[in-house]
């Protein structure tokens, strides 16, 4: 669920909605030029790096210098190494050696391709941009920029028959400064909003990783001015290329003349387009659709490979540099080799094994995130001898020992005498070891630390206190060690305090008590619980059709095999082929079953004319040193694969689901996976209905769904369609949770 304002949320729920908007932006990039262009030699600083200037570079890491009005004092810039540093330099793009005030500066970009046309160029100069500069191509075409006031400069000008560009800079915003270039894009960004006639965004994700997630977007643009006609030489459509990126934003006019609140719809890849005299249609897809590179490097590792490392390797092979992997994957291991599958399927298998869901974020970032309610543990920085801090996570009646703390001990007979020796204490909650002073403040504030098994977000926490109340609470959340948020509770603190606040993704929460309401008291906490995972209810008012309930086939049991790879099979000929090779030729052969212990023969005898240069359980790469025609064979052993089953029984009747994940090599993980899959199948009811359209909903969101027979029914939305036609509408497919 995307974050939205209260005004947005309330207005979207009202019977009459305000106006909806859409905005599309996509770059018309000449991808061949983008891939092959290089910056020519020039008078650059020693820390200049031009390798990634034509890549997808959004950060502007910058070394602090003494240039005029350049160095910020917020600690965001970096100290330049003296040049002898072992770690080298950060990639800060290109920086001219001399100040532009000392003389004009030129640089040459060689496209390194045959003469080509491209429409527009976009250059990111950073905060200190040039005011006056020219861009000239090798055909003598010059585009002059005068009085520029933008850090990211773009032009729609078509550069024709171009093999190189020369950029000449005359004046900077701050004259006594260097020129910096962080990125160059051969093309420019197009932004459409009023031209959009309609659009459909269809998103699907399997909550248990049964399929690859899928997003399809279709937009129809007005073409009355024939701007998108193929025959129009200035038409943007002539410069569209498969694989170009498109950003979709949805807007909603806040009531009473408020601003338009924009929500990012998604970041997608263009796949097809077409046009006629009235409209142009562009279709886009998710980032997984083209992730078809085969992963064949699977290798058995008796010591275990972390799922995190495995995912990083697959993403590297798939050419994905921006991703988010749940840090929990670092502590989960597999011994088994990953079979030969496409990279996207490999990621899906990893996500499933770790009870995660594979998705792309709305920024187009591949992510694998835990998809289960994590268990939590709690600890304190000091508790009384009779305190049981771990018990506060259990919602039961807690005993309280009478003490002489100010105003603490009640005289209704409900409190208990503290034994002199605590052999077997009563079921108490958390009681701090620290006692507040006369001013109700502690020398060291009591802090409870709640650690979750996986990163998760919650809409609030609940605290049930004993007979002593704190005077202040500060809550800090951390995500893998980094502070996410510090929230000071400003509401009145009562015996049963519910803090309604959105705590974004975190794995650790610290609850610090800054004082007690009465002096000379301890903190007494009997119960702690996280709030809800959703604050959205799909009411009948949000639906435009009656929800169709679909009862799924009943599942009796879920079986998850745990695979163990064992040696002991006899050696056999794995590959046998007549090959004709030249000296130095390398060949890679792929195997159908996981194998090991390779050796090669030529014409049935071992030979030094061939050697194995690389291998895994599913491939062998060999190098031939002598030309000729040979009967080539690879000998080796196939693994014996033994299965053990983790079984979760749901009911007496129904079908059996056997969930085979080849990476599962640990019976504990198999049991966890079986429980997770069983949870999914235990409900077995799905709902389909049309809605008024909510751009803030993500697939895999858990929401409440109004139901006349079940109060507070939670569902997971796994397919969502959002239509835009000057207003929103949509369609939802959701699966019931919790039986």
């Amino acid at each position: 669920m995307q974050k939205v304002s209260t005004a947005y949320r309330e207005s979207m729920k009202s019977s009459l909605r305000e106006r909806a908007y859409i905005m599309l932006s996509f770059g018309l990039i000449n991808q061949e030029a983008q891939a092959k262009a290089k910056i020519g030699d020039g008078d650059y600083t020693r820390f200049t790096k031009t390798d990634n200037i034509f890549g997808k570079r959004t950060d502007t890491t910058t070394y602090a210098t003494l240039e005029e009005n350049f160095t910020k004092v917020d600690g965001s810039m970096f100290f330049l190494p003296r040049g002898t540093a072992v770690g080298g330099y950060y990639d800060t793009g290109l920086t001219s050696e001399k100040l532009i005030s000392e003389g004009n500066f030129s640089l040459v970009i060689n496209l390194n391709i045959a003469a080509t046309d491209f429409k527009g160029i976009t250059i990111n100069f950073g905060e200190n941009y040039p005011v006056d500069f020219d861009i000239a191509n090798d055909q003598g075409q010059v585009v002059e920029f005068r009085g520029n006031d933008q850090s990211e400069v773009s032009t729609e000008e078509v550069f024709e028959n171009t093999t190189s560009l020369t950029l000449t800079f005359y004046q900077m915003k701050n004259p006594k400064s260097r020129l910096r270039i962080y990125s160059i894009m051969f093309g420019y960004g197009l932004v459409y909003n009023d031209s959009v006639m309609d659009s459909i965004l269809d998103s699907y994700v399997s909550p248990i990783g049964a399929d690859i997630p899928q997003i399809d977007f279709t937009v129809t643009l007005k073409n009355y001015d024939k701007y998108f006609n193929v025959d129009n030489p200035r038409s943007a459509i002539n410069f569209l290329e498969t694989g170009q990126e498109m950003d979709v934003f949805y807007g909603y006019q806040l009531p009473n003349g408020g601003d338009v609140e924009w929500i990012k719809g998604n970041h997608l890849i263009c796949s097809e387009w077409e046009s006629d005299d009235y409209s142009a249609t562009i279709r886009c897809q998710d980032v997984f659709r083209s992730m078809d590179t085969e992963y064949y490097h699977g290798a058995y590792n008796a010591a275990g490979t972390s799922y995190f490392d495995l995912a990083v390797e697959i993403l590297r092979i798939a050419g994905i540099s921006e991703y988010y992997l749940d840090p929990r994957l670092k502590n989960l291991y597999t011994k088994n080799p990953l079979p030969r599958v496409k990279c996207k399927e490999a990621l899906q298998i990893i996500a499933n094994a770790c009870r995660c869901v594979l998705t792309q974020s709305r920024d187009g970032v591949v992510q694998i995130k835990s998809n289960f309610a994590p268990e939590a543990s709690i600890a304190s920085n000091g508790e009384a001898p009779y305190s049981k801090v771990s018990a506060v996570l259990t919602n039961d009646t807690k005993a309280e020992y009478a003490t002489l703390a100010t105003g603490y001990t009640v005289v209704d007979g409900g409190m208990f005498f503290l034994p002199r020796t605590l052999k077997r204490g009563l079921n108490t909650g958390y009681v701090s070891s620290a006692i507040s002073g006369a001013n109700g403040k502690f020398a060291t504030n009591p802090v409870l630390t709640v650690t979750q098994e996986a990163i998760c977000m919650y809409y609030g926490v609940k605290l049930v206190f004993g007979n002593a109340l704190p005077s202040g609470i500060v809550i800090r959340t951390y995500n893998t060690g980094s502070l996410v948020e510090e929230y000071t509770v400003e509401d009145e603190i009562t015996k049963e305090t519910v803090i309604i606040h959105t705590f974004d993704d975190f794995d650790t929460m610290e609850v610090e008590f800054t004082g007690t309401a009465e002096p000379y008291n301890r903190i007494v906490l009997n119960y702690f619980a996280f709030g809800d995972v959703t604050n959205f209810t799909m009411t009948k008012g949000d639906m435009t059709s009656s929800p169709k309930a679909i009862k799924q086939e009943v599942v009796k049991e879920v079986i998850v095999p745990c695979y163990s790879y064992q040696t002991g099979n006899p050696e056999e000929s794995l590959i046998s082929e007549e090959v004709t090779v030249v000296a130095g030729e390398e060949m890679t052969f792929f195997l159908g079953a996981a194998s090991y212990g390779y050796r090669t023969t030529l014409d049935e005898v071992a030979s030094d004319k061939v050697s194995i240069t690389a291998s895994g359980n599913y491939y062998v790469t060999v190098r031939f040193t002598t030309a000729g025609t040979y009967q080539f064979e690879v000998w080796g052993y196939r693994y014996k694969v033994i299965e053990r089953y983790a079984t979760v029984k749901l009911r007496e009747r129904g079908k059996t689901v056997k969930w085979e994940n080849p990476l599962i090599s640990d019976i504990t993980m198999a049991n966890d996976l079986a429980e997770w899959i069983a949870d999914y199948y235990s409900a077995g009811i799905e709902y389909e209905y049309s809605t008024r359209g909510n751009p803030e909903i993500d697939v895999n969101d858990i929401v409440y769904q109004e139901n006349e027979f079940r109060d507070n029914m939670k569902v997971t939305i796994y397919r969502a369609t959002l239509n835009f036609s000057q207003s929103f509408s949509g369609k939802i497919t959701a699966r019931r949770l919790e039986g």
Binding site: T65, D74, F79
Partner: protein, 141 residues
């Protein structure tokens, strides 16, 4: 030449992520460097002789500055303080190559400490001058 230290450094980013705070220029580097030299010269007029490490000639806009130079400015301040009033000016950060540069709070602490030492040592000097001994005057003091 002593220049009044800047003690109102601030750095801020607006709602759009645009930086709107102060910028650290060559003049600022030179002021801190030279003020520390002035402060040492002032201090040794009433305290035992001691030295600080020179950071060389004034910088210009085309020069770079390095982590070890800012560390040296901090060290020079500590040397002067240790040889004079031994005040407490908070923890001294250590900057490293490729590490984040100082923020406005550290600059305020550094220049605030320089100004504070300068004022206090100046007062000591002025105080000594104002205390006069009178010998042989009838009627006493």
């Amino acid at each position: 030449m002593w220049q009044t230290p800047k003690t109102d450094w601030y750095g801020a980013v607006d709602a759009n992520g645009v930086y709107s705070g102060d910028r650290f220029n060559a003049d600022d580097f030179n002021r801190i460097k030279n003020n520390l030299d002035c402060l040492r010269d002032l201090a040794v007029t009433i305290y035992d002789e001691f030295g600080i490490v020179s950071l060389g000639a004034d910088r210009t806009a085309k020069d770079y500055f390095y982590a070890d130079e800012i560390n040296q400015l901090e060290a020079n301040l500590n040397t002067i303080n240790a040889n004079t009033l031994k005040q407490s000016y908070g923890a001294t950060p250590t900057y490293v190559e490729n590490g984040n540069t100082m923020d406005f709070m550290e600059l305020n602490r550094l220049e605030g400490a320089i100004l504070d030492l300068y004022d206090k040592i100046s007062n000591q000097i002025k105080g000594r001058r104002m205390f006069q001994w009178n010998f042989g005057i009838k009627g006493g003091f």
